[in-house]
């Protein structure tokens, strides 16, 4: 138990520090690297909760794919972030005002929050039927059997969003020479090559 508690404080501590560093690091690439560290530690927290499948998916999807693209883009950006930051202080009052409004709203919402007595008693009850099953099996049961329509619908929405993004950014540039493998393979010897007997002194 004590080891788990220690691991929790280690992961949580690093997570909080790295989250702070994401917004305070001077170099944007360092920010993304701290973001990755944060993802990694939240995966550690998931493992402590016994959600090993979610933890691994977190690492594969967020660390292995999403953050790579972030890093890719940030490294290629040619922006001097120090210049951008120069005028940042003048927005502080606006930021503080928005933060205060959000905080008030949160306090108002959660201050009056009360659990229904039945809901508290029922908490975690649907999980009993997954006793003895692994993470992946129970998640699959919920996502692909119980709520398959909602899940597929979410997938479709993401798909449409992806198609939209591609359509918006796709531009066809005329006059670009591209390799067409099919065309190359379809080329016959007769089309491109001609063998002639040339008698000396006469030319072709």
């Amino acid at each position: 138990m004590i080891i788990q508690a220690l691991a929790f404080y280690l992961f949580a501590g690093i997570l909080v520090v790295s989250a702070l560093m994401v917004i305070s690091a001077r170099n944007p690439v360092h920010s993304v690297l701290f973001l990755i560290l944060g993802f990694f530690n939240s995966a550690g927290l998931f493992i402590l909760l016994g959600a090993e499948f979610v933890a691994m998916i977190m690492v594969i999807v967020y660390v292995g794919a999403v953050a790579v693209l972030f890093l890719f883009v940030v490294m290629m950006l040619d922006i001097s972030f120090a210049d951008l930051r120069k005028g940042a202080m003048q927005y502080v009052p606006v930021g503080l005002a928005i933060g205060a409004v959000l905080l008030t709203e949160l306090v108002m919402a959660y201050g009056v929050w009360a659990f229904a007595p039945d809901a508290l008693a029922n908490r975690g009850a649907p999980l009993i039927r997954f006793e003895g099953a692994t993470n992946a099996e129970s998640l699959g049961q919920v996502l692909y059997t119980d709520y398959v329509l909602a899940f597929q619908l979410a997938g479709l929405i993401l798909f449409v969003a992806m198609v939209g993004a591609i359509v918006l950014t796709l531009r066809t540039r005329p006059g670009v020479r591209r390799q067409n493998v099919g065309e190359q393979h379809a080329r016959k010897r007769e089309d491109v090559l001609e063998i002639r007997k040339v008698t000396p002194g006469t030319g072709v």
């Binding site: 790579v68 490294m75 692994t134 699959g140």
Partner: protein, 367 residues
């Protein structure tokens, strides 16, 4: 006390694995030079020790005694972090590899996902090295590597899904031991070929070694590294190759089981079969390097996105369809584990409590 014993055993096991992997890496470099020498009618290393067997140690000593040079424009922390990270990642993946029945450090339920996660993180070592070197060649190499590894991971993931559909578990031991009739092996064989090609791209090896690409970008992401930092990259790369070979063995070649299910070969210890199969795939890496010229970059990307991705995606659907229609899907323990008593008990509880059963979807299962 029990904790201490457990910790001691784990540490010992870890040490054995790490030392084993490092020795394997050292002699893999030797094997590479010998095999490539043989394929090119040369002798390979012969002078250091008998048959040149001490060559890897000499190379290691040489790299150890060289001067570490950090370029003045480099980002020091990231520059030094990158090779360490790559090396560490190539070692931690070995924690879940089962060398024989029960010979595994961490027998976790999501072993294959762990391997996939670790192998997808190795890209950071490369991209960080490329960026931190503050050199154009290194940066180009890092970018190439990032896009290449991300591209080929997608099809690798889909191939793994094909295997998982047939085995019905994410645990590496259960993947090895799941029964595989001949038709299933035939079904998975094309994916085995695609997987072999994908691991070449994933480990940045010839013919997909564009991130290094000596003839175009001099040395790619490693161009500014010297001495031990370079050695760590080297160790990481070869360790990743051995790891990928072990992964192929586990997914497709039956791990520690005798080949083709020949029962009379079962007296040979499983670790020998595991090592033999892994060595076979490792030989494939060297064979490909000595045989094939380097791909052009756009051809590499086309192969990944326009050939492998549609092919593997279609194969996932085909595999699922065949398993479904022949009723050969591996049994789902989730349903087996649910006893009817427990279900009725929940049913009673939930309908008592404010009629939640409509939303919880439990009724669907009872039907």
């Amino acid at each position: 006390m029990e904790y201490l014993i457990w910790t001691g055993w784990t540490l010992l096991y870890t040490l054995v694995i790490i030392v084993g992997v490092l020795i394997a890496v050292a002699y893999y470099t030797y094997a590479e030079r010998k095999v490539m020498g043989g394929m090119q009618r040369r002798q390979g290393p012969i002078t250091v020790g008998p048959f040149g067997l001490l060559q890897p140690l000499a190379d290691g000593l040489k790299l150890f005694s060289k001067e570490t040079i950090i370029p003045s424009g480099a980002n020091r922390v990231v520059f030094l972090l990158a090779p360490m990270m790559l090396f560490a990642l190539s070692l931690i993946a070995w924690a879940v590899i089962p060398f024989d029945k029960g010979w595994v450090l961490a027998n976790i339920n999501v072993g294959i996902l762990y391997l996939f996660a670790v192998s997808s993180m190795t890209v950071y070592g490369v991209i960080m090295a490329g960026w931190a070197s503050n050199s154009r060649y290194a940066f180009l190499g890092g970018l190439r590597s990032a896009s290449q590894m991300v591209s080929y991971e997608v099809s690798m993931g889909l191939i793994i899904v094909c295997v998982l559909l047939c085995t019905g578990s994410l645990n590496l031991m259960e993947i090895v031991e799941a029964p595989r009739p001949v038709w299933m092996q035939v079904l998975l064989f094309p994916m085995f070929i695609v997987f072999l090609i994908s691991i070449l791209a994933e480990t940045n090896r010839a013919p997909f070694d564009l991130p290094e690409g000596e003839s175009e970008i001099t040395g790619g992401f490693m161009v500014e590294y010297s001495a031990m930092a370079f050695a760590l990259f080297f160790l990481g790369e070869y360790s990743a190759m051995i790891l990928m070979s072990a992964m192929t063995t586990i997914l497709f070649l039956g791990g520690w089981l005798p080949p083709f299910g020949m029962a009379f070969l079962a007296f040979v210890p499983g670790i020998i079969w595991f090592a033999a199969k892994t060595l076979l795939v490792m030989f494939f890496f060297l064979w490909a390097r000595a045989t094939l010229p380097r791909f052009r970059y756009d051809q590499l990307m086309r192969l990944g996105w326009k050939v492998f991705l549609p092919l593997t995606l279609a194969w996932v659907i085909l595999t699922a369809g065949i398993l479904m229609s022949f009723d050969a899907l591996p049994n789902m323990p989730a349903e087996a584990a649910v006893s009817q008593d427990a279900l009725t008990q929940i049913e009673a509880d939930t309908s008592d409590a404010a009629g939640l059963s409509e939303t919880s979807g439990i009724e669907d299962i009872n039907d």
